[in-house]
């Protein structure tokens, strides 16, 4: 069958044109005018959430009646989340609610979020009541850009270690709360189990770098702007470059010592795995974790594919944590949103309505979970936690956890969640909570400094290099890259922020 190339091309163009027309026709057909305001919610999901429509409908059933708003949730890849949100704005795509994670407060910096102070005053009374002084999640130039999700904020950095080994070697767990006690314990364990790794690196191979070994001199560390070279400590509003402190040097030398003694994995700087993985395999003595202090027992979890042995664990607190806005999940409103008021109303309802909150976190009522008569919630028949069809991965930190129903798998006390949130009042806040560093004035220097950090920090913190040689080099290069200017600018902004906070 002979066809000339030319007519093929003509037909091709026709097909393409039709596609474009059909597509634009489709999008137009969806724009029905309604009394119900529809808002979109951009969120990241860690797990799989194929039951999206069921859950959306369940949410909408509640909100439609009460406030006349419906929501459409869209999920994103975590790693490039801020870039993708930015692109959507660049592409003039409508967005309304935008989830924020940790130090992705750069969203505010890039013009992606809108200030919400007025909206909070008008429609967010319940949010204000629940959050209290934690409300100002991200404040830049005196304006608030986000609402934090209220979960349990009282955390303690702990060293999780093998209870059976500790008991076997007659170590007093309380003694391990000091560095000397910890090292003594490590020595004993190493002597008894020479093949075992004693302590694992946490994210990116950091073994003990930032956890305040120097507890007499350093407490309440808050790392500003998501970098380790802008730090405030001891409730002192002086911004310090952590890398230049004696504390850091002490910690590095300690880790180097551990490396030489064989306590530490040799590959910690380059491994792709989370170091604590080998704990579940019996080959690791301890790892660093962050425990929810409100009564949660430490439960080792069975990891895919590993043997089903779980080890009883002691959880030993080793540092004083502060509540920092850098560690929080929250939500903001997109700067190009046309339904800002509906968004705030929706959020306000989320913070108080028990059913709505539980739905967003755990799935649709009577489909994924059901309410018992005693006020507790339990998963429905056939739904397994972990594979329920609504695994956003953020069940415990979305909305206002205090408003969610308590699940039987967690506690028998229907007020458990409320107590968790109440416990937040006793959590120490960083004095810089809500501070959002605008790095624009020093972006060149920060770029150069970040590059230096990437070059040296991990190697130093893994214990595999000589601290006395490399640390001075590291600091010298930081200075050459302009770190002092960055610190000064951060100090200036922090002082302004604290003054405004009154």
């Amino acid at each position: 069958m002979k066809r000339t190339k030319k007519s093929f091309f003509v037909r091709l163009m026709a097909v393409l044109m039709t596609m474009v027309l059909v597509l634009s026709g489709c999008t137009q057909a969806e724009k029905k005018t309604d009394e119900i305001e529809k808002i979109k919610f951009e969120m990241f999901a860690w797990g799989e959430a194929p039951d999206e429509e069921i859950v959306e409908e369940a949410l909408n059933a509640i909100t439609r009646e009460k406030i006349g708003v419906e929501v459409d949730i869209e999920f994103y890849n975590l790693n490039v989340y801020s870039e993708q949100i930015g692109l959507k704005i660049a592409g003039d795509e409508e967005m309304d609610l935008v989830a924020i994670i940790g130090d992705t407060l750069e969203l505010a910096n890039d013009g992606i979020l809108m200030p919400i102070d007025d909206l909070l005053d008008k429609y967010g009374q319940d949010i204000k009541k629940v959050c209290g002084d934690l409300l100002y999640y991200c404040t830049m130039d005196g304006k608030n850009y986000g609402v934090p999700f209220m979960g349990n904020k009282k955390y303690v950095t702990t060293l999780n270690c093998r209870k059976d080994i500790i008991d076997e070697l007659n170590i007093d767990p309380a003694s391990m709360m000091t560095i000397d006690g910890m090292e003594a314990a490590f020595e004993k364990v190493h002597a008894a189990y020479p093949e075992m790794t004693i302590i694992a690196p946490d994210s990116e191979g950091v073994i003990y770098g930032y956890y305040g070994i120097d507890r007499e001199n350093v407490s309440h560390i808050d790392f500003l702007g998501g970098t380790y070279y802008l730090t405030i400590m001891n409730d002192d509003p002086t911004v310090v470059d952590f890398y230049e402190t004696e504390s850091y040097k002490k910690e590095l030398k300690m880790v180097q010592d551990w490396y030489e003694k064989g306590y530490v994995m040799k590959d910690s700087a380059t491994t792709d795995e989370v170091g604590s993985l080998s704990y579940y395999d019996g080959n690791l003595f301890s790892y660093i974790n962050w425990q929810n202090v409100y009564g949660d027992p430490v439960e080792p979890v069975v990891h895919l594919g590993l043997s089903a042995i779980t080890y009883p664990t002691y959880s030993i607190p080793i540092a004083d944590d502060v509540v920092s806005s850098a560690d929080t999940l929250g939500v903001g409103i997109s700067s190009n949103s046309k339904h800002a008021e509906a968004c705030m109303k929706w959020l306000n309802l989320l913070f108080t309505d028990q059913e709505m909150c539980t739905t967003l976190g755990f799935g649709a009522k009577d489909h994924h979970w059901q309410l018992r008569e005693d006020g507790l919630a339990e998963y429905c028949e056939g739904i397994e936690p972990g594979n329920s069809g609504w695994e956003t991965g953020f069940n415990w930190s979305i909305g206002n956890v205090g408003a969610c129903y308590v699940f039987t798998s967690v506690s028998d006390d229907p007020d458990y969640n409320k107590k968790q949130i109440a416990a937040n009042d006793t959590a120490t806040r960083s004095i810089a909570y809500g501070f959002c560093f605008n790095y624009e004035p020093v972006e060149t220097q920060m770029a150069a400094c970040d590059s230096v950090v990437e070059k040296y920090a991990l190697a130093l913190e893994s214990g595999s290099v000589d601290v006395d040689t490399l640390l001075p080099e590291f600091i010298a290069e930081l200075k050459a890259a302009g770190i002092d200017e960055v610190v000064q600018e951060a100090q200036r902004q922090l002082d302004e922020f604290l003054a405004q906070k009154k």
Partner: protein, 308 residues
Amino acid sequence: MKHKQTSLSKSRHYSILYLMMVPGLLYLLINNYLPMVGIFIAFKKLDYSAGIFKSPWVGLRNFKFLFATSDIWIIIRNTVVYNIVFIILETVLGIWVAIMLADLANQHLARLAQVTIILPELLSLVICSYIVFAFLSQENGIMNNTILPALGLRPIGWYNEKGPWPVILTIVYLWLNIGSQAIIYLASIVGINKELYETADLDGASRFQKVIYITVPCIKPTIVTLLLLSVGSMFYSSFGLFYLIPHNSGMLFDVTATLDTYVYNALMHKNNVGMASAAGLFQSVVGFILVLTANKITSRLDPDNALF
């Protein structure tokens, strides 16, 4: 019966040719040229809510960070030297493998080989970095646990030692690319008129002479084209190769840092599109100048093979 080409039929001949090119050129216009306005982002601070056109101009500020490091010469040296070495090796080895494939009497093996050597193109570089780690891991790596002991050598902290890495990276690069190079050259070799070889045989030419005097000259256009195009990427590097494979180990910086890894590390904590765009523009401009120059030289020496 001979047709004389009248001017009418010649112009009709040409118009059909131009018409054929329309879909391709249209696509390039839409996909490549329209977005090129994005080059201006290199001179702006991108405010997403204002959009590309209304974001404020900042002049050359976005370029400053590229030169704010004292390591700029190491970075440029690495980028350029690796590129030169890679280009030379992949060309020579690519042609060599292609000739072997063309000469294989067992054509089944040749076809199997072609399919095999192109497989590395399928592997994501992240997975490649896991595999390299499998070899070079200090505790469990195949090198330290199997190969070195067999040779009677002590284990090495691979990710901390600078020395072996230029070789390691070159080996990985060749593993990834030699297949595609060979296949491109093979296509040209196959197109060479067999009569040339038969004549040479009659003249008693040795195998080596045939390669030098027939094969290589006949594939010269391909070689020149590939070389000219590589020149344009002189300031680019494979991010996966120089960042992922060495796991961004700081100790290896002097031999693995390239312009692309520097930009990534510097901008990692911020999504600064303006600065990233500036870096890209810098690389593009240098590449452009190099290609223009190389092409000019080629036009003088070998006009048929110049790119334009």
